[in-house]
């Protein structure tokens, strides 16, 4: 039943602290989905929406989404990035009706209201009338009818937008630990290699959990195990930003000497497989990064580096029980032909048809299918204990707990007093600092 002072808000039972138990209602309830669009996607966050490399030339634009709000990101004649809601200020029509392109202005087809690349209204047909028609009233000002502008920030070529005016800087939002990893991956100009889109019948937060969950990696994804490539000598861990909203999962191979020592010792579990790859060229790579990393920037971005495959994944919610995932694969501008071919071949390992990781969307779907009638039941998120802190282990659900703590703060869902107080104080602090 709704509490008296929050009758407009979804009511949720979520009393556990820390967030080691998640009520399934959050994956089902349309009211929670609505509240997410307002408080989270239009709240004090930076949402990833694309790569600068996708709109590299002046006047290039890309139509995409902030949460489920259609938006446009484009580059002005002087190179500056601008973003606005893709909804005509006149009667609400979609202004930009193409996925991407190059335009000096954006004109709504309905009545040809025309906007410049900043989103300012610059042209209104018959504004001053025509013949006996009076046109718009004298107090009509085009300057009052711009497209809804968004804040835009770019970090190492990743474009983020924010609906909120009081959001911290993108550098502060990412924090030093996340920035350091982005700096490593985006260390020189990139080149987009391709896109893949996946449509999953599940709540977007089931995927947000999945990409923060290294526990499932060797259990759900059996490709390496099946073909005899299981290595327990892999080390790794989980790193957070200061607010536990972003997560970096890393798994790295040790250097050769350590590897040999581990193999000779008892630590390694050798796995004898019946199967071997007919064509192992799909795994052949070039030393570039140590191991594997999955970095998740709240709420909509995943930066993946799996061997030599580099990609960003954009998570787009499409209603309470649907989300879309857009993979954008990239390499570097200075890749030689051989490295390009390696990246192209290794792309078989990931994405909607990825040999190694196609299962993630399916895992989200089978949760969505099973929880349908049990919104008051809750998941168990106890692997690695109850803490939310960096860990030198991959057998942990700390990343998931961190996500939910931050989510709950943003959404204003009641938690134990200490969590609420903490969240209020940092919300106050972040609005003061603007």
């Amino acid at each position: 039943m709704p509490s008296a002072n929050e009758s407009q808000s979804p009511w949720i039972t979520w009393t556990k602290d820390p967030t080691d138990s998640v009520p399934y209602q959050v994956f089902l309830d349309p009211a929670i989905y609505e509240r997410e669009q307002e408080r989270l996607f239009r709240g004090p966050i930076w949402a990833y929406v694309g790569l600068e490399a996708e709109i590299s030339k002046p006047q290039d634009f890309k139509a995409t989404f902030l949460g489920d709000t259609p938006i446009v990101v484009n580059r002005d004649k002087d190179g500056t990035l601008h973003a606005f809601v893709n909804r005509c200020a006149h009667r609400g029509a979609l202004v930009c009706r193409e996925l991407h392109g190059n335009r000096a202005r954006h004109t709504c087809v309905y009545h040809q209201w025309t906007y410049d690349l900043k989103g300012n209204l610059v042209g209104v047909p018959f504004k001053n009338g025509l013949g006996n028609a009076a046109g718009y009233p004298a107090d009509f000002q085009t300057s009052q009818h711009s497209l809804r502008k968004l804040r835009v920030a770019s970090y190492q070529g990743l474009i983020f937008v924010s609906y909120a005016q009081n959001v911290e800087s993108i550098e502060d939002y990412l924090g030093p630990a996340m920035r350091a990893h982005i700096d490593r991956v985006f260390n020189r100009p990139i080149e987009v290699l391709g896109h893949a889109r996946q449509f999953v019948s599940a709540n977007w937060k089931l995927y947000a959990e999945n990409v923060r969950d290294p526990y499932h990696a060797s259990l759900l994804h059996l490709f390496h195990m099946t073909f005899g490539m299981y290595r327990s000598s892999q080390g790794g861990g989980v790193t957070f930003d200061a607010k536990s909203r972003h997560t970096l999962l890393q798994s790295y191979r040790r250097n050769e000497a350590e590897e040999v020592a581990a193999y000779k010792g008892t630590e390694v579990r050798t796995y004898q497989s019946k199967y071997s790859l007919s064509d192992p060229s799909v795994l052949q790579g070039r030393p570039e990064f140590p191991g594997l990393s999955i970095q998740t920037i709240f709420p909509s971005l995943v930066v993946q580096q799996i061997q030599n495959t580099l990609a960003v994944r954009h998570i787009i919610p499409r209603g309470p029980e649907r989300f879309e995932l857009i993979f954008t694969y990239f390499g570097y501008g200075d890749d030689d032909a051989e490295l390009q071919a390696i990246r192209r071949k290794q792309a078989n390992l990931v994405g909607p048809a990825g040999l190694v990781s196609m299962e993630d969307g399916h895992a989200a779907e089978i949760v969505q299918q099973a929880i349908v009638r049990d919104k008051d039941a809750a998941s168990v998120v106890l692997m690695g204990g109850r803490g939310i802190a960096d860990e030198e282990s991959l057998v942990t659900e700390t990343g998931i707990r961190g996500f939910w703590r931050y989510y709950r703060d943003l959404m204003g869902f009641s938690g134990p007093a200490n969590v609420t107080k903490e969240s209020e104080s940092w919300m106050r602090a972040s609005s003061v600092s603007q």
Partner: protein, 161 residues
């Protein structure tokens, strides 16, 4: 081989190919290809921008075999059956024993899991852009580019198109 025999051989290959996939004889699927070969699944979005990475890209029969072993042994997905519907073949070029052809396809996917059992939906529609070689009367794909219209892939893509 005269033009009619050639067309018949190419059409037979298409029908045998989709029948193999639809009847779950996936272990036979690589045998429809030469070795080396090219099997690509990609989208107009990538082709129009000249982007080389799509959904699947295999350049040997071995890679095709590995996909099927992975499907049977490693990958986790909702059990399903495909039903391909293919158009008449449009042969665009014939050069010696090599035929270039385009064939439209639609794949309906029927789910076999307990929650969605029996639910069919249009899973993928697009065009096969094929290069077919005919050797000793046997037609095989040297190249099969599956150019999908349905760029928004439902759940995942595990069974080949």
């Amino acid at each position: 081989m005269d033009a009619r025999e050639l067309r018949f051989a190419v059409e037979e290959l298409q029908h045998a190919y989709v029948h193999c996939l639809d009847s779950d004889r996936l272990e036979e699927w690589p045998d429809f290809f030469t070795d080396p070969c090219r099997y690509e699944v990609t989208t107009y979005e990538n082709i129009e921008q000249g982007l080389p990475v799509g959904i699947i890209s295999c350049d040997s029969k071995g890679m095709l075999r590995d996909r099927i072993v992975a499907l049977r042994q490693a990958n986790i997905y909702g059990p399903h059956r495909y039903r391909h519907v293919v158009s008449a073949v449009r042969i665009t070029r014939v050069e010696d024993n090599t035929v270039t052809a385009e064939t439209n396809y639609a794949v309906y996917r029927t789910m076999l899991d307990p929650v969605n059992y029996g639910h069919s939906e249009l899973y993928s529609v697009g065009v096969y852009q094929d290069m077919i070689v005919i050797e000793r009367g046997v037609a095989r794909f040297r190249e099969k580019v599956v150019l999908v219209d349905t760029a928004r892939i439902l759940s995942l893509l595990v069974t080949p198109l």
